[in-house]
Every structure is written in C-alpha cells, then in structure tokens.
C-alpha cells in the first residue's frame, strides 16, 4: 500500500539554466523590454504605410486639418493699415501687394513682403506687423526728396543718400529743389547740399552744381558763370569766393569763371570783351602789356 511518489529532481537542466541566465542578462532584458516592442510597432507602422494610397490619404487628411486650422477667423487678415505713407506710395503698395485679402496669416511671408515694400523707390524703411483683429499694419518711412539730378532723360528726384525717388519731366515740378548735374552727382548729395547752403550767402541766383569728372563740383551761377571748386574742402572755397566778392566786388566784374581749385592761386577768366578793353587801356596808358588774359592777386 506504499504510495510511490516519484520525486522529481528540483535542479534545472543545463539548458534551462543557461536559458534562464540568458534571460537575466541585462542586454537581453533591455532587448525584450524595449527593442522587441519597438520593432513590433515599427513593423506594424511600416506595413500600414507600405501602401502608397494610404500614405497619400494620410497626407491629405493632415493637409485638410492644417488648412482648417489656418483658415480659422482668428488667423485671417482682412485689412492693411498703412502709416506714414503719402498717397502715391499708398497706391503703389496696394498695387504690389501680392495677396488677396482676406488671407490667412500663415500664408504671409512677412520677410519677403517687407523686402518688396522696401523695394519701392520712395520707401526708405518699412515695418510690418499683424495686429489683433486681422489687421496688417505697415509703418512706412518715406524717402525725403532733397535735390534734382539732371540726366539725359530728364530730372530725377534724389534723397539725401542719393537714391532716386522718382523721375520728373519738368524742372518746375519741384521748383524748390536745387539742381545737380553730371555723372556721379548722386553719390555726393550731402556735400552738394553743404555747398549750396553756404553759397546762399552770395545773395545771387544759382543755377546749380555740376559734378566734374565724378570728383569735384562746379558751382553754376544764375548768369552761367562758373565757380570751379576743389576736390577737397569745397565749402571753404565757396566762402573765400564770398569774401572776395565782399572785398572787391569780384562777381560784379566781367568774368567767365573763377577757378578755386588751387587754394594758393585763385584764378579768374575774363570775358573776351573785358580782355580787349584791358588791352586798350594798357596800350593807351603805356603800361606793359600782359600777354595772357589772366590776372593774379
């Protein structure tokens, strides 16, 4: 009646022992706990996305959701508010504005828009901002016309930096602005303005300034007489002309031009009639004749 209970050996077999040890290896545990689930997820996702139709479908749906969000009224721009722009510039901006309002602010490329507006000749700087309530606010700083530049094609209106703002046909359109001429005149507008400001003290009508050889100025008076100014310190030269005029009524005399290019030796050219008159007087009075038509101080 003795019950026979076969006692199983509790010890694991070599294979089971080794398997157990392998399962307890940190690398293996990491692999099963992290690597395999990742692999399964990646496999499922990859298998689903293998079909091109499904991919396109998903892309469409994402685009649709994106469009829905972008076209929400909170993100729409209805209005452009221009600040600091004259009527003409306003018209120009409205003309070049590339978007049809109302448009989503997500579509706006603000940097490009700003570049575009600053590309207008009359605009110096522009600041763009989308304000609450769907308003695109554009703060424009315009260029200030300071002078006219006469070229072959007509008159160009320049600002202080020499940038052309507009082209006008007639001098009378901007009668208040001084005129510059000669190639390269637009590169030295501030100097020209300085010269003109000091030349007002001559109290004579001025026709304008001519840039000679892209390096120095000729001051042209109202009766066509020229004052040739040096490359350096032209304002000082103008002041010397003023002083000479005050002292010896220089400009009252019959001259064609005054050459101030050499500061140590200002030179005048007399008109033909004055020269002949001079010769006649000197011959009559027996004074020695001067061969050339120049006079030195």
């Amino acid at each position: 009646m003795r019950p026979v209970i076969p006692r199983a050996d509790p010890s694991p077999s070599r294979l089971r022992y080794r398997l157990e040890r392998m399962r307890l290896t940190p690398g293996y545990r990491r692999l099963t706990r992290l690597g395999l689930p990742l692999l399964v997820v990646a496999g499922v996702a990859g298998g689903y996305l293998y079909d091109a139709d499904r991919r396109a479908n998903i892309a469409d749906r994402i685009a649709e959701i994106r469009r829905q969000i972008e076209t929400r009224p909170e993100f729409m721009v209805h209005l452009i508010e221009l600040e600091g722009a004259s009527a003409g510039v306003q018209e120009d901006i409205h003309e070049i504005f590339p978007y049809d309002l109302p448009a989503s602010s997500f579509d706006f490329d603000m940097a490009a828009l700003r570049e575009m507006i600053e590309g207008l000749p009359a605009v110096a700087r522009a600041e763009l901002r989308i304000r609450q309530g769907g308003v695109l606010r554009v703060a424009v700083t315009e260029r200030v016309p300071v002078t006219l530049w006469r070229t072959r094609h007509g008159f160009e209106v320049l600002d202080i930096s020499g940038a052309a703002i507009a082209t006008v046909e007639a001098r009378t359109t901007h009668a208040d602005l001084p005129v510059l001429a000669g190639s390269g005149a637009d590169l030295a507008v501030p100097q020209a303005l300085d010269i003109l400001a000091s030349a007002t003290a001559l109290k004579r009508p001025l026709r304008g300034l001519v840039r000679m050889g892209e390096r120095r100025w000729d001051l042209v008076l109202g009766d066509g007489r020229r004052v040739r100014l040096p490359e350096r310190e032209p304002v000082r030269a103008v002041e010397r002309v003023i002083v000479l005029d005050r002292a010896s009524d220089l400009l009252e005399r019959d001259l064609v031009s005054i050459d101030m290019r050499l500061s140590t030796r200002p030179t005048v050219r007399m008109s033909e009639h004055a020269t002949e008159e001079w010769w006649r007087i000197t011959r009559a009075s027996g004074l020695p004749a001067i061969s050339s038509g120049t006079e030195t101080r």
């Binding site: 050996d9 010890s11 694991p12 022992y17 307890l24 940190p26």
Partner: protein
C-alpha cells in the same frame, strides 16, 4: 611560491573586477545545504583605503539582493564527492538566487568546510634596506618566511600576516614608515587538499560561472559570528555543520588557527536513523523538531510518532519517547565536542588571554547545547548568530548561515593575504618583461 602568487592573484583580480561590476555571488557548499547569496556593491567606500595594510581592498557597502538555499547533494564531510550531483545542486541554488536578484551573476566566491585543513605558523625575518620600512620590505619579509613542506596535492587557501615585529617591538599591525633595522613577521597559512578546490572550481565552471575566490568555511563563519572584542581578545568559533565541525581561533582580529572535525550533524541523523529504525528523512525531521541533549523528566512522557510506510501497523505506529531520542543524540554531540576540545588543546587555545568559545552553524540550534558545551569546552561558551547584513532575508539569518554571511564580509572586507603584496623585485626571474615594465612605471 610563484605559482601560488599567480593563481591567487588571478582570483583576486577577478574578484576586484566582479566588485567593480557590482554583482558577485557567494556560495556556501555545505554537506547538508548549499546556499547562494547574490551581493550588489553600491560603491560606497569602495577602495577608500586602498593603500592601507589593515584593509587592503577596503570595500564596504554591499547589499544582499538574492538568496537561495537548497538541499545539498553529492557532498560528504564538506567535500564534493559526486560532481554531477553537486553541480546540479549548485545550479539550483544559483538559479533561484539569480531569479530573486533579477540579475545574472558571473563571478562566484565559494567556501567549503572539509578537505582536511591544516594550519601552519610561519615566521620570517629580514634586515631593512633603508631607514624606514617600505612596502618592498614587507614583501621581502613575507617572502622570507620559510614555507614548510605542505605535502603533495595541497593548496594554500589563506596566508595572512598576523603580526609584525620591528627590532624589539612586537605586535605591530602596520610597520610601514617606521624606523628600524630588523623586521620580522608571523604568518598564518592554511592549506587544504588541492583536489577539493579543483573539484569545486570545476563544478562552478560547469555552471557557466567563474570562481573568483575560495574561503575556508571555518574562517568565514568566525568572521561572521565573532563580535569585535572577541576577535580582538581571542576566541574560538566552532561551526557545527552537517558533515564536519570547523573551528577557527582568532586573536587580534586575525585567524591564527583553523581546523576541522570530520563529524557533524549528519552523523547525529544517521545515529537516529539507525537507533530508531527510521529513514534518514524522518530521522532528520525528528532531530530538528524534537532533538536535544539534556533530558528531563518531562521528556520521558513526551512520545514521538516515528511513522512509517511499510504497511505493517505495528511498525508504522511505533512511538519513541523524547528521552530515548536525546539518549541517542547526546553521545554523538559529546563526541563532536570532545574532538573539538582535543583540537583546541592541540592548538594551545588554553594559553590565550581570553578563552571565549562561540558555537554557530546549524548544529548549534540543538536545545541545551550550550550547557553541554560549557561542560566540555569551558565555562565561556555562547551561541553565536551571524552578523546582520543589509538585505538578508529573515530565513537566512539563522546560525546555519554563518559561513554564507561570513563570505559576504570576506568579499567586502578581505583581510590582507600574502599575495596582496607585490613580489619583491629581486624575486622576479631575470630579464623579466614585467621588471622592464616596472622600471618604466617607476621612472616615467
């Protein structure tokens, strides 16, 4: 002794590597049970005092994260007898401990109790080369110890410098840096049968692990069961195991003697089995539940059913009184203790200043053993339980686990051994490559 250096240092390097990796297993291969603890070293205080003689590798801060015990098979008298059986038992214990720890263990430190340990006291002396004692002087004095003939097929398990003497001063722990002319040392060397170590190494290797250290069970249970003052002042630890009773004598925190009596709890069980005509398993159960060594009048009336499965009613319904059981157990326990007494006397234990005796191991749980032991061994006997270590399960805190816990301490705080010091330079073989490397290291 170069080969000894090589093998022991290889094991030490392996142990260091295991501790660096943080996980090491401790295996106590006993006659009645095999227990495996998995330790995790969390790195606190590791290598803090690496330069010190007192605590060479000074690791501390470990935690038991896995523990498992299984019935031992194939081990007799503390020695591996059937390799395959033992291997399976080790596998069971290791697998269960690994499962509890949830980590794989590759290095194992093992201890066993048998293999006829033999203690030797070694002495060496040397003249110091410089003014002060240097590391090299210590290496020299250690290698100047005259090694006795330990016999064929024996291996050194422990070789620990116990004492240093400098000129006329003795009892130094760390003589380095002290000024003197003449340095002497006393060393304790423990040898065991080499075959036992090889068998153990083979079993561990068959379990896909590497043996990173071997300890003597008597020594490690002494570390675990003796408290600090006992270790300092002198005490003997008697580990009453299943197949053998190990004894180790400590003084000044060093083991100075270790031996093993080849009688243990299994002999008590087989006595009961023979005396009561019951199977071994029943005898073990009766011993554990009802065993004792001091009979009282009450024990005559307490009847124990021995049971049986023969089908014979008379045979299966036998009863024995507890007094009878005690009458069987007591002579054997007395025999063990007397044998221990003889070994202690041979070792000169009665010359020690303090003669504390601590009983530990599974056998120390017999009720009334302390009374019997004090009659045989001397008045100062106490029952010792192992030190409490971090994370040890409640089931593994009993005295039967003294050597397992001791192995943990041994792994965490190893005492200096001979091979922890460098081989003195003049002992290197001439034109050795290592010498050249050392020259480079010293000069660059």
């Amino acid at each position: 002794m170069i080969e000894l250096y090589e093998s022991q240092r290889a094991m030490r390097a392996m142990r260091k590597a295991a501790i660096q990796r943080g996980v090491v297993a401790v295996l106590d291969v006993g006659t009645s049970k095999i227990s495996c603890l998995v330790l995790r070293f969390d790195g606190t205080g590791r290598f803090a005092a690496a330069e010190e003689v007192g605590r060479m590798a000074g690791q501390a801060g470990f935690r038991v994260i896995g523990a498992a015990t299984t019935r031992s098979r194939g081990v007799r008298l503390g020695e591996i007898e059937a390799m395959a059986e033992t291997e399976r038992a080790i596998r069971t214990a290791v697998q269960a401990a690994q499962k509890m720890a949830q980590i794989r263990v590759d290095h194992v430190i093992a201890c066993f109790s048998g293999a006829r340990p033999r203690s030797y006291g070694l002495a060496g002396e040397v003249d110091i080369t410089g003014q002060t004692v240097t590391e090299n002087d210590i290496s020299r004095v250690l290698s100047a110890c005259d090694v006795p003939d330990i016999g064929e097929e024996r291996e050194v398990l422990h070789a620990q410098p116990v004492n240093f003497a400098l000129d006329h001063r003795s009892g130094l722990i760390d003589p380095r840096g002290q000024i003197g002319n003449w340095l002497a040392t006393d060393m304790h060397m423990l040898t065991v049968d080499g075959v036992a170590v090889q068998n153990l190494a083979h079993c561990v290797k068959r379990c896909d692990m590497e043996l990173a250290g071997v300890g003597s069970s008597a020594y490690v249970s002494g570390i675990a069961a003796l408290v600090e003052d006992e270790q300092e002042l002198g005490a003997a630890c008697i580990d009453l195991g299943g197949g053998s009773a190990g004894l180790s004598i400590f003084i000044k925190k060093h083991m100075i003697y270790a031996d093993c009596v080849r009688i243990g709890g299994d002999h008590v069980t087989s006595d009961i089995s023979m005396g009561l005509q019951v199977p071994q398993a029943t005898a073990e159960r009766i011993k554990t539940f009802y065993g004792g060594v001091v009979a009282t009048g009450m024990d005559d009336r307490e009847m124990i059913e021995t049971g049986g499965e023969t089908g014979d009613y008379e045979h299966d319904r036998r009863k024995v009184s507890r007094a009878e059981l005690i009458g069987i157990m007591r002579p054997r326990v007395e025999e063990i203790l007397e044998e221990v007494r003889a070994r202690l006397d041979a070792a000169g234990f009665d010359h020690l200043p303090s003669q504390q005796i601590v009983l530990t191991g599974g056998g120390s749980q017999i009720p009334g053993l302390d009374g019997l032991a004090s009659r045989i061994l001397g008045q100062r006997v106490r029952l010792g339980r192992p030190l409490r270590v971090h994370g040890l399960p409640q089931a593994a805190t009993g005295p039967a686990f003294a050597s397992a816990v001791g192995m943990c301490l041994f792994a965490a705080n190893p005492q200096d051994e001979w091979w922890d010091f460098d081989i003195p330079v003049d002992r290197y073989p001439a034109r050795s490559l290592r010498r050249a490397v050392k020259w480079f290291k010293d000069n660059w």
